[in-house]
Amino acid sequence: MIRRQKVIVSLLCAVLTVGLLAGCSGKNGNGGSGDKVTLRMIESLTSPKRTELIQAMITKFEEANPNIKVEFISPPFDQADNKIRTMLGSDEQLDVLEVRDLTVAEFVNNGYIEPLNSYTDKWKDFATVSAVSKSVGTVGDKLYFVPNGLYQRQMFYRSDWLKEAGLNPPTTWEELYDTAKKLTDPAKNRFGFSFRGGAGSNGTTDAMILAFNGDKVNLDDSMFTKDGATIYSTPEAKAAMELYLKLYKDASPPDSINWGFQEQVQAFTSGVAGILLQDPDVIQSLQEKMTEGTWATAPLVTGPTGKALFAAGGAGWGITAKSKHKEEAWKLVEFLSSPAENTKFSKDYGLIPIHSSATEDEFFKTGPYKTLIDMSNKPDTFVNYKPAFQYPGTGQWGQVTMETGQSLLLGKSNLEDTLKKWDEYWVDQKTTLKQ
């Protein structure tokens, strides 16, 4: 009897051990079943609505290509990029991935992603992909991802508040400050500007410093001036930051020192703040939450030299260098980037489509998108620059600015020291890149 028990226990142990070991070697390809190929795809800018839209496109793709199955991974937004890095670093199977303007240089430097030029050469719709979209996905002279839409900042303002106060929408940063200050009335819990001092605060500081530096900026290496100094070392940068401090102190809610995207938009929709600088992906929630006619859009405000520098940002689909199914992966990227799918996705999610043909659509020519098109028609005032995505430290820059910027706003450090730190950061980036 005991012997029998022993045999059973031994067997159980063996099964458990084998199971455990098998579990450890988790390299699952396509399961070896027939010719069906499984592509693993991961997104980065995850949000519930976006995931749903992408999933719907994938389903459509799978129906059109019964031999390809797509396994779609959607990690939570704040962990997504680290998850992608870990998967790439540990050689897990991954075929299609969402590459961001922020991460592309790093992925290319590590040899994680495949240049797409040989594929786009044979792609008939590539001709209508806009130059800006191509530039966002390009490192050196190679294209590494096809953007799935572009983000570009513009101004949103409470037209009813401005009308009530007899004001016009501001066109310069100085005017923006004056207008915002006039709209501010803490007793009524009303503030002029929807400030962002938390995650993503460099969106405002960099925009102001670039606008103030104006013509001095090297458009191909935007953290530096044409003389090779950083944009943070100039007297213009100091002037910009002085205005920035005033903007926080006189025209923004004190709490906004911690605000990120969500709070910033919420303050605008709930009637706490009157002016918001944001990308078009907020348009939908403004349309949903605010009464029509209470808000409107305007182009970005300019600096003292009459120029506003802007960069279109974006993320898009790339293919991993180690993918075993590159042809199929490209098929998927091509499908997702086709004019029909991309235009639909851009409309549904609030992005600028990547195909220039799509901007002919009435949808983008009227309403809140119109100012974006207007801006692109005035290239002398609204100057497009290439963000410094080639530097490996770009991804960390947001965190550095947020922390030093918050202690500046709190009065824990002074303006000179802060700008010096920023200057040193980019000087350091440049030297590391040269090595």
Partner: protein, 293 residues
């Protein structure tokens, strides 16, 4: 006999493998990483750097601040959680109508995730649209809205309040269970000896539930020390790093910096602090009592 031993050993293998894979491997890997430059952005240049990560931590003002904050965070939170929890448990021990429902309400906070609590309190503390400022204004206690989360003097205080609210239920549950196990004969005997309410609490109740008190405060202190979720949800460590505790700073190093080396070094320092704390706590409270829990 030898065969028997071999059999037992072979039977232990799966369990051992599981423990090795999921407990000791990450632990050892963490120790190794603490001595490496290990950045997710640059996995190709992972190399040993000796104790550089530790040196960098102690030179970093943010780390020193997080160390101090961890002290306030644990001591103040634990103190209020315990006393409020004990008060609630004593109140709930009495029989009254609707006690079950009342208990449900009290324990509710314990069922929420720390991150969610952080998010809820973040909106409540909001200086423009938050309910707390609104209430204080309407009650005439304050004249101007307070930036609970934006003013560094208030921020740490605010996250501690949220944490106290969260942990009271834990103590209430545990202490209520202990209170209900105190034999009624003890109270009867105390009454015969002429003991008053306070004396009964002091001489009968507290000594009887002491093992539970010791075990729960020990455990809870470790949890509070290790749990960054409320801080993460509420302030993300801000403004300007003023609400970071060690565990949230460690997470910060990973999420925003991808710096596993620096994060592991902080992790090792945390383990050392906890070890010292546990040894101290158990020797002060006479460890054998806690074992009866």
């Amino acid at each position: 006999m030898k065969k028997q031993r071999a059999f037992i050993l072979s039977g232990l293998i799966p369990a051992l493998l599981l423990v090795l894979a999921f407990t000791y491997y990450p632990f050892l890997k963490g120790i190794v990483m603490a001595f490496q430059e290990y950045k997710l952005f640059d996995l190709r240049s992972v190399h040993f750097v000796g104790i550089d990560n530790f040196k960098a931590a102690f030179k970093d003002p943010k780390f020193i601040m997080a160390l101090q904050n961890s002290g306030y965070w644990v001591v103040i939170s634990l103190f209020f959680q315990f006393f409020l929890g004990l008060t609630l448990a004593l109140l709930m021990k009495k029989q009254f109508r609707g006690r079950g429902i009342y208990q449900g309400f009290v324990f509710y906070s314990w069922a929420l995730s720390g991150f969610l609590i952080g998010m809820i309190w973040k909106w409540m503390f909001n200086s423009q649209i938050g309910v707390i400022n609104d209430l204080l204004l309407k009650l005439g206690i304050i004249e101007e809205r307070i930036g609970f989360l934006s003013n560094p003097h208030w921020a740490m205080f605010s996250v501690i309040i949220a944490n106290v609210w969260y942990g009271v239920a834990f103590f209430a549950i545990m202490l209520l269970a202990a209170l209900q196990s105190v034999p009624s004969e003890l109270y009867e005997a105390a009454v015969m000896d002429g003991a008053s309410g306070v004396r009964k609490l002091w001489n009968v109740t507290l000594p009887y539930i002491m093992p539970t008190i010791i075990a729960t405060t020990l455990l809870r202190a470790i949890w509070i020390f290790n749990d960054p979720t409320i801080i993460y949800g509420l302030t993300n460590g801000g403004p300007a790093g003023s609400t970071h505790i060690l565990s949230s700073l460690m997470l910060d190093k990973i999420i925003y910096g991808g710096d596993y080396g620096a994060a592991s070094a902080i992790g090792i320092i945390m383990i050392a602090i906890l070890l010292l704390y546990t040894i101290f706590f158990l020797s002060v409270t006479k460890a054998e009592k806690a074992g009866e829990f």
